[in-house]
């Protein structure tokens, strides 16, 4: 495992690493020790390599979620990332302390999402006739015209899943902020993992822009408030889901 910027013993964070400790009984210990090139861990714990009397060895070990390679966790430098040494997947990061930034971004994203849905995205003016369209109008028109399946797909990926994603994030971060242990953390995380690939706000934004550019030949088009709301929602949502440490959630669950 490699830290992004070399040094690895700068900021010890014992609570965060403790989550992934696993314990091996005496039978599997020798097995592991002979195969994995363990190094001494930076925060002081070390692998016992004494006689058969050592019954338990506690190791902060992690398996890469993309290639399954076992490797030891190390303490990262601030803002560092640990990558799998075989497949280069990002295993974990060092996060700025606390869920404050993530929570702030998630709440801002919620407000922007409401604006993005309540106001027209674009306006079109042809021969004095003015027509505006919001996201709801798009779904509604498709539905009325008999393309219910397309309407459902658009409504699901541009409206429903982003709404679910934002509200799940907030309900995850609020208890974390106030240090409350909740029952809901595990199901929320599980649901978030399912929902996330289907939330396509950024693709929708590009779609709006392409549609606008297509209509430019025909009529005068103007961007509505919702377009700007969608535009600023995307980076906020990315920052919100990237700037809290998932390990903190597990401390809350087990504690």
């Amino acid at each position: 495992m490699r830290a992004r910027s070399g040094r690895c013993c700068q900021r010890p964070r014992p609570p965060a690493t403790s989550g992934s400790r696993i314990t091996f009984g005496p039978s599997s210990k020798r097995n592991l020790l002979s195969r994995v090139p363990w190094s001494t861990e930076p925060d002081g714990a070390s692998v016992g390599c004494g006689g058969e009397q050592d019954h338990m060895v506690t190791l902060p070990v992690i398996a890469c979620h993309e290639c399954d390679l076992l490797q030891r966790k190390i303490v990262l430098p601030p803002r560092g990332r640990a990558r799998c040494r075989r497949c280069r997947a990002i295993l974990y990061r060092d996060y700025p302390p606390g869920p404050d930034r993530a929570l702030a971004c998630a709440i801002a994203a919620l407000v922007l999402f409401l604006i993005a849905n309540a106001y027209p995205i674009v306006g079109l003016e042809v021969q004095g006739n003015r027509q505006t369209a919001s996201l709801y109008d798009a779904v509604h028109t498709l539905w009325v015209e008999g393309r219910e399946d397309v309407a459902l797909l658009v409504g699901f990926t541009a409206m429903f899943t982003p709404a679910v994603e934002i509200s799940l994030l907030i309900s995850l971060l609020l208890p974390l902020k106030f240090n409350r242990a909740t029952e809901g953390t595990v199901p929320i995380l599980r649901f978030l993992q399912i929902v996330r690939p289907w939330s396509m706000t950024e693709v929708f934004l590009l779609g709006i822009l392409v549609a606008l550019a297509k209509l430019e030949h025909l009529a005068r088009v103007e961007a509505g408030i919702a377009l700007w709301a969608f535009g600023s929602l995307i980076p906020l949502l990315i920052v919100a889901s990237m700037s809290f440490d998932p390990e903190d959630l597990w401390l809350n669950v087990s504690g």
Binding site: I22, V36, L70, C87, V139, T141, V210, L215
Partner: protein, 209 residues
């Protein structure tokens, strides 16, 4: 080689949700995460079979998605039906070549490249190939992250339909191709999700046995 020790090989189930490791019962193929209680398996269940099934469905959907019109335009100048390709050609001909390139990449290049790449990955895993796993891993990462962008054309049609609706100048309606294309995007995304990238790496350790 020291770094071919995987969790699966040591009988450890790694949790997709909380990243912790759980020792499995001897001989068991699945278990529960000791930290969060998630249902764990060593590899995604029937990964190759499921990916194949969804891939074949995608290949079938690919035909109507590209042949059927995704959009009908009725205007003063007459009625017109556009498939995805003719839409790109129209954009190119009307001078907005940058848009034509974006739509071409998102709607034609990405879905077809995704199908070909995923087929290659499944075949290579089935043959237990050891050819450059990092390269194949990167292929998988790209196809997984890029797949969603194919939805672009669906959103374009949705916005056009909503805007050019009950206008005196023209009306635009979504065509049957939009349904097939939307289904194609969803099914290819599901196919990519069914594929377990750890299978790319699994033959690596047997080679060093």
């Amino acid at each position: 080689m020291a770094f071919t020790r995987t969790a699966g090989r040591l009988g450890l189930l790694s949790c997709h949700l909380c990243n912790s490791l759980t020792k499995s019962a001897p001989g068991a193929h699945e278990g529960r995460c000791s930290r969060c209680g998630s249902h764990l398996r060593f590899r995604k269940p029937d990964s190759i079979t499921r990916t194949w099934a969804l891939l074949i469905a995608s290949y079938i959907l690919f035909i109507p998605a590209n042949l059927l019109p995704i959009m009908h335009t009725n205007s003063l100048f007459g009625a017109q039906s556009d498939t995805i390709l003719s839409g790109v050609v129209y954009l190119w001909a009307s001078g907005s070549w940058h848009l034509a390139v974006i739509v071409f990449i998102a709607s034609i290049l990405v879905p077809s490249a995704k199908l070909v790449t995923l087929t290659f990955l499944v075949v290579s895993v089935q043959r237990r190939s050891t050819w450059d796993p990092l390269q194949r891993m990167n292929m998988y990462r790209i196809l997984e992250s890029v797949g969603r962008w194919s939805m672009l054309d669906i959103f374009v049609v949705a916005m056009l339909v909503a805007l050019v609706h009950l206008q005196t100048l023209a009306t635009i309606r979504a065509g049957a191709g939009a349904v097939a294309f939307g289904a194609l995007v969803v099914v290819t995304m599901l196919a990519a999700m069914a594929f377990d990238p750890r299978l790319i790496w699994d033959p690596q350790w047997t080679r060093h046995e």
